[in-house]
């Protein structure tokens, strides 16, 4: 059996995306910086992809800068903000941010820049009140960064409300929208000053992403200096096949989202209804707030997630848990800890994340196997006493 239920980690490349990438690599191999026809053909593909990405999030094409992925976009926002001559004050980041925000925030903190965290509630959300309190406590604040939707729990932050608080206090808001985009409505125009995107979470290629930024609302220094690509915002010859693939993936995600969301939410809700009952008796995390339709983060009492992941993998089923360190071994999830979970509960949490291609039969098969496995493991641990 082979069942991949880890779509928040990455998605397979969509065949339509691959076709665009192959055609671009074949026919648009010129440099977008060149004056001649080869350059112009490359430039046309680049700008078309920019328009496609912009449409997906309701932004202007000129606000889209392509990067090597969301990690680069997040690093650009934090470091580019800290190093910008005009910026002053604390970098405020949510307590459940992805490593690609926590990493640069910790680095900047070690280099003497003021950095602080905004606490989350038990659902993992930054409330408008908590944001207002944090901004006032750490005033002046140069930037707020809050993940749009959480990769582990799927919790969706109230970004329009948070953007309202930031606008009122005159602080720019950045949001890592990698998990949200294509899964829930992401409207750049009604929300933050900048968002980060990644292609491979949308059926696009690895190694491509974008920073969408309104330069009037948020001034940054570039991370990479060099040639004039991306209007000087991001030097380096563009990964054009990847960018064209990203554009096509963005277009497909926008078309597919309504049906996708309904289908995955239906599968997810039925799966959760079953796994919440005996014998698994799972607890659904962030179940009390808006979540990504395809994401389920389950605490399975009395079972170590590390063991569950390995045992499921040996049966050909892919799910995930926590975050992996450089050696690949699991660490306790800092996000779940920030939500107030004990080490025991966070160490017993597994994430299931679905695709539109998953079926009800697959879900039933998965639930059968999980129930059998959990029963066996609990029996063993009670026998061991």
């Amino acid at each position: 059996m082979s069942l991949y239920l880890d779509h928040n980690a990455t998605e397979p490349l969509d065949p339509e995306v691959r076709a665009v990438m192959e055609a671009t690599a074949q026919e648009r191999w010129g440099s977008s910086q060149s004056v001649h026809a080869w350059g112009q053909r490359a430039r046309a593909a680049l700008e078309e992809a920019r328009e496609q990405a912009a449409v997906l999030v309701g932004a202007q094409p000129r606000q889209v800068t392509f990067t090597s992925g969301a990690t680069e976009a997040n690093n650009t926002v934090l470091k580019g903000r800290a190093l910008h001559p005009g910026s002053q004050g604390t970098l405020l980041v949510g307590a459940t941010e992805h490593a690609s925000i926590r990493g640069p925030a910790r680095y900047l903190g070690e280099r003497g820049f003021p950095v602080a965290e905004i606490p989350v509630d038990g659902q993992g959300r930054v409330t408008p009140t908590a944001l207002r309190d944090a901004i006032e406590a750490h005033w002046p604040v140069s930037l707020v960064s809050v993940l749009w939707a959480h990769n582990e729990t799927g919790a969706v932050q109230p970004i329009p409300e948070l953007a309202g608080v930031c606008a009122e206090l005159g602080v720019p808001l950045h949001s890592d929208a990698v998990q949200a985009v294509g899964k829930v409505a992401v409207d750049f125009g009604a929300g933050p000053a900048a968002i980060s995107l990644s292609a491979h979470k949308l059926g696009g290629p690895k190694g491509v992403g974008a920073l969408v930024c309104d330069p009037e609302a948020l001034t940054l220094d570039p991370l990479l200096h060099g040639g004039g690509q991306e209007r000087g915002w991001r030097a380096g010859t563009e990964n054009l096949p990847g960018i064209a693939g990203f554009g096509r993936a963005a277009e497909l995600a926008a078309q597919r989202r309504p049906a996708w969301a309904q289908w995955t939410a239906d599968l997810r809700d039925r799966l959760e209804a079953r796994l919440s009952q005996d014998p698994v008796g799972a607890e659904v995390l962030s179940g009390g707030c808006e979540r990504l339709p395809n994401t389920s983060c389950l605490v399975v009492p009395g079972v170590r997630a590390e063991t569950l992941l390995m045992a499921l993998d040996l049966e050909g089923i892919a799910v995930s848990s926590g975050s992996a360190c450089a050696s690949g071994s699991l660490e306790p999830s800092p996000a779940l800890q920030a939500m107030g979970l004990s080490p025991e509960r966070s160490g017993a949490s597994v994430r299931v994340s679905l695709a539109g291609s998953n079926t009800a039969e697959e879900m039933a098969d998965f639930a059968d196997r999980l129930e059998a496995l959990v029963s066996r493991l609990r029996q063993r641990s009670s026998a061991a006493g």
Partner: protein
């Protein structure tokens, strides 16, 4: 007929021994699952965080063998059971044995349970020791290669664990294992042996110094048996019985540490002839089969890894303790080390050395 293949979890370090272990079992038809234990959670010193290099090497071997591979995180248990104990022992004037502790509390406890959780019938390691399954119960025997035999470190392994353990290298010499690695095309056939405490990027002295508080960490006096001050030391917790190097003494003949007392921060030295012991007391007594009869018994005893066994008489004391009287004096019997009891090549059991006289 995949379902008929017995499943075995192999503890892989990325080194040649555990790599050959995994490869041999795969060749013998086992369904092999590789795991690497992440044991260190402290900051790196050059070696990379959390054993990244070892895990990468092990993963490459697993890729080569086409077996599933998982890193497992035991850093919290390792710190509690091995590292903290390691420093505690030095600060109590004893010399810890982290390999035996790791076997007893991590490999043959946590990892063995993990293997059973994965529905594996066996856990295999690259130890040079044998488990003889020809009789009614499995018997632990020394490895065929006397120069590599690691049965000493296994003497305090829980008896019931033997049922589930495989040591495929016990019938091989180190040279034969290297030849196997070359035959199997394993990339790490010439990789260096692990040193100090494996997976921990610290020396013993660094670990003790990192504790930062408690007895025996400050410079003090080195005294002889009569109490005469003969030199200075860096802190009694940094020394171990039998040690000669690292002593800065103004004496014309070699002196050895015979006692460390971190609480009074005193290191006692004596001449070579005074480092010998006639008997010792052992705690945490463990026997694989019959417990010790009240009349006691004779056995061959090893008091350190690198040493030949000595004939001795073992007499029970109260609880899980015993007195061991050697047939001939033994050099530098060191509290904190394992005492392993043998009858020829069979390991009968073991215990922890408490005191020597």
């Amino acid at each position: 007929m995949q379902a008929c293949r017995p499943r075995v979890v192999v503890a892989m370090s990325g080194g040649v021994d555990s790599s050959v272990t995994a490869a041999l079992l795969a060749e013998q038809g086992f369904e092999v699952i590789g795991v690497t234990m992440r044991l260190w959670d402290g900051p790196a010193t050059g070696k990379g965080c959390c054993g990244v290099d070892d895990a990468t090497d092990a993963r490459r071997v697993a890729d080569r063998l086409g077996i599933p591979f998982y890193p497992v995180n035991y850093s919290a248990a390792f710190r509690e059971k091995v590292i903290d104990n390691f420093v505690d022992e030095y600060q109590s004037g004893r010399t810890p044995n982290p390999c035996a502790r790791c076997n007893q509390f991590i490999k043959f406890d946590q990892l063995l349970r993990q293997a059973h959780d994965l529905d594996a019938a066996y856990l295999a390691t690259g130890h040079y020791a044998r488990i003889d399954r020809s009789g009614a119960r499995p018997r632990l025997r020394s490895g065929r290669d006397a120069t590599k035999d690691q049965s000493y470190f296994l003497a305090v392994t829980p008896s019931e664990a033997l049922d589930s353990l495989l040591f495929p290298l016990g019938d091989y010499t180190k040279d034969e294992v290297r030849a196997q690695a070359a035959r199997l095309g394993l990339i790490n056939a010439d990789k260096a042996e692990s040193q100090d405490i494996c997976f921990v990027p610290r020396t013993a002295a660094e670990l003790v110094a990192e504790r930062g508080s408690g007895p025996g960490l400050n410079p003090g006096e080195v005294v002889d048996r009569a109490g005469n001050v003969v030199g200075r030391h860096k802190g009694a917790a940094f020394y171990t019985v039998g040690q000669r190097r690292g002593l800065d003494l103004a004496l014309d003949h070699p002196m050895y540490v015979v006692e460390t007392d971190p609480h009074s921060n005193r290191v006692v030295v004596a001449g070579a002839e005074e480092v010998f012991h006639e008997r010792m007391e052992v705690s945490g007594l463990h026997w694989f089969a019959e417990p010790l009869a009240s009349a006691g018994r004779s056995a061959e005893v090893k008091v350190r890894y690198a040493g030949r066994p000595v004939s001795a008489r073992i007499q029970p004391l109260t609880g899980d303790r015993a007195r061991v009287t050697f047939a001939e004096p033994v050099r530098a019997v060191t509290p904190g080390q394992v005492a392993a009891f043998y009858a020829e090549d069979e390991v009968l059991g073991g215990g922890w050395i408490e005191a020597a006289a």
